[in-house]
Symmetry: C2
Subunit: 461 residues, 2 copies
């Protein structure tokens, strides 16, 4: 009983994080070279958790682990392994283990596994597949990266549009090649054009003599094989799709995408956005090496250095002014910092709104106007606060007026830059998350310093 | 033929954004008071797109739209409408329209619809439900916000564990209350404990005499009704779940969560993270009013003002130093800016790693060490660059050395703050995304100014 309760509580507080005690036991077993113990420890784990474990241990431990247990790695674990260590893991596996592992996978998982590998590793995996699977995978690889064609699985369950429920069920019972997961039977015309689909739930709950055509779903939509995967994920989330048929240029059915793959894409797209907004290479991962990480972060820091030097150039224009009133040097970072923050707020909302397609041509001017007014209101609020602070701090009323005016100017400019920069990038076909932050803070730094020091030079001296 | 091709191309380029021309036609029909035309225009749209349209038009247009077409709004459209305008829309609908609309919804959709409404609106909707549905919704509302209990639907398809495929199919054919979407039949013991599940695909492809018990899925996991919804979404993504039974404290089945709801939660969680990192209230939306938006953004700007004043206080300590060498005022923002950027990079990676559970006790020290080394390497790289720039710019070798040393110090501190601040917040039970950015840039501003000006005071004067 007591054990039951402890178990219950453990489950309630489950946070799906790898348990440190378990990781330590695994590492002990690896160190002791005890493969049997390792198997026993890993047996209850999901493939995704074993992959996480491999990512979270250090490089040396991972190599020792693979030497001891590499032969037990199956396709499912392989396809869960993060890109950052995938080549390393695949390289450590004996060829026949790799061959065995990939043979169990659906075509979409094989594509996902090999698309980022080097040529020789790709070849090794393709060689392991039988003719039909290899052809399917190679066909998928002809579609552009990040397209629906790469994401779809080619195993599709179809039925002629004139069939009845009974005919469909008899067909399903007779087939032995059905995919692991499928949620619809897709109705096709004689030229393989999808014309609708029936959920398995409807199929099961309808009488055998019901025509499939009469129980198709309203939600039916097809996806072009060239559609970008980010848009595919958006469509699944927006229209609550569970699976969607993929069609080629002639509207012929070539595959199907299921919601679990769309959910992974949605997750990756978000990750990309959030990392890009912070100026981090979107491929970054905790299992990257120090050098890889340094190399990923350096370019954006370098861009930031250039923009910071530009802002310093603006300050340098006013060296004489600062020499006469050093309080300006004390206060000027406040104006720049407030502008940078307000700009980042607007920018982030704009990038999200573009990603969720809620910022469109129909409402763009209303949104720009709203941001400008919000910038003015916040500018006015902080102008009052900071004006008073400056007056009290330095006992100089005009200094208060100058910082107040600079604050209003910079927060208005921040709002406009925050919305117009991502809109412009999007219009130019670039990712609005990428580099937006640097552009916006450059604008707010330059305008902030120029407005504050310029007004000071004009008013105070 | 030409038309076909044009359609093809339109589909290929489909980006699921609301078409501006359509929005204009809709607004024309609203202005003309032409309800029939409006119905004709909206007929081909998905409920989610109609909801988006309502969000994207201005407040006055929305009110006119609702006066003209409010009676046609159904439950599906209602549950797609963004929280920011939900009260407004519901308030504009006649009571009997509202009652009619909510009666079609599943219990989880009703819960989602009403949980954020004011008491009187909640009551109006609850009153519209029949006894059983009302009880189900009220029961769900007793679970904590953002828990699995709020997310689950209560309509569950179960079968006794000893049934065969044939018995299950006969049962499904006989029932007429089945949920719109279900993917598994959950096997339960006589005390309603879930013991496994069978996919509908397996059910359809197996012979009638096969025992259900023999075709259950490995992926089976139950979720506690108290589990946080963010963790539920994580589990669906991590373990590729399609649906999962929800159990109470006694392990009894009380509902089921399906992947489409988990996908929405994943999307919302990301949105929250990205907005929190930028210091924007996570409830923000483009259809908020100017005043709401100003109110949401003001608090974080205020916190930023305080920290900016703190950093200015550090500068004020060195007023005398700056007076003697005004180049310091020109260069000091560069050190602070580089620190802020490097800190934000590390911070973002850390927040994401915590969200994806890949930063755990097992690897935390390795990750901290890695970030510190990356900080040192980037610090060294930019120390060289910026040291040379400063030397050339101001013709003062010692100034170059001072800024180089300050750069190394600040980028190391930025890396440590970037990882330790979110870790500490998480340890304290706070959201690591919330406020992390402000803490980190405060540290990098203060340390940046102090290191640069302090070293300058010591070395140069």
């Amino acid at each position: 009983m007591a054990e039951d309760r402890a178990e219950d509580e453990a489950r309630e507080e489950q946070d799906y994080r790898l348990d440190r005690a378990l990781v330590d036991l695994v590492l002990d077993a690896v160190e002791a070279g005890d493969a049997a113990r390792l198997t026993e420890l890993l047996e209850p784990l999901h493939a995704a958790d074993i992959a996480d474990l491999l990512e979270q241990v250090g490089g040396a431990d991972r190599r020792a682990f693979l030497r001891l247990w590499g032969r037990k790695i199956d396709g499912e674990i392989l396809s869960e392994i993060d890109e950052s260590i995938r080549e390393e893991v695949i390289g450590a596996l004996p060829r026949e283990v790799l061959a065995e592992a990939v043979r169990d996978l659906d075509s979409d998982d094989v594509v996902d596994l090999i698309e980022d590998l080097q040529e020789p590793q790709q070849e090794a995996i393709l060689d392991a597949l039988d003719e039909a699977d290899r052809a399917a995978v190679e066909q998928s690889l002809t579609y552009p990266e990040y397209s629906a064609g790469r994401l779809m699985q080619r195993e599709v369950v179809t039925a002629p549009e004139h069939w009845t429920v009974g005919e469909a069920i008899d067909f399903l019972r007779a087939e032995d090649w059905l995919p692991d997961q499928f949620y619809h039977v897709i109705l096709v015309d004689p030229r393989m054009h999808p014309v609708g689909y029936v959920t398995l739930g409807k199929l099961l709950s309808s009488r055998r003599d019901v025509a499939l055509r009469t129980i198709i779903e309203d939600s039916f939509r097809t996806i072009s094989v060239y559609q970008e995967e980010a848009d595919v994920a958006y469509a699944f989330n927006q229209y609550h799709l569970i699976s969607a048929p993929v069609v080629d240029d002639d509207d012929r059915l070539v595959g199907v995408i299921t919601i679990d793959d769309a959910m992974s894409v949605l997750d990756e797209e978000h990750e990309e956005d959030i990392l890009r907004l912070a100026g981090v290479g979107e491929e970054s991962s905790l299992s990257d090496t120090v050098l890889e990480t340094t190399r990923q972060r350096l370019p954006w820091l370098f861009v930031n250095l250039l923009t910071a030097i530009l802002a310093s150039g603006v300050i340098a224009l006013f060296e004489g002014t600062i020499e006469q009133l050093v309080a300006l040097a004390v206060l000027m970072p406040i104006v720049a910092s407030m502008g940078g923050n307000a700009g980042t707020q607007t920018l982030t909302v704009a990038v999200r709104a573009l990603a969720t397609k809620s910022l469109t041509e129909s409402n763009v001017w209303r949104v720009v106007r709203r941001e400008a007014v919000v910038g003015l209101l916040n500018g006015a609020a902080f102008a009052v606060v900071m004006g008073l602070v400056a007056m009290v701090w330095f006992g100089e009323p005009h200094l208060g007026l100058v910082i107040a005016a600079a604050m209003v100017i910079n927060l208005l400019v921040a709002a406009l830059a925050g919305i117009l920069v991502p809109l412009t990038l999007e219009r130019l076909g670039a990712d609005p998350a990428l580099a937006s932050g640097t552009f916006v803070t450059t604008v707010t730094d330059v305008v902030g310093f120029f407005a504050f020091l310029g007004l000071a030079a004009a008013v105070l001296l």
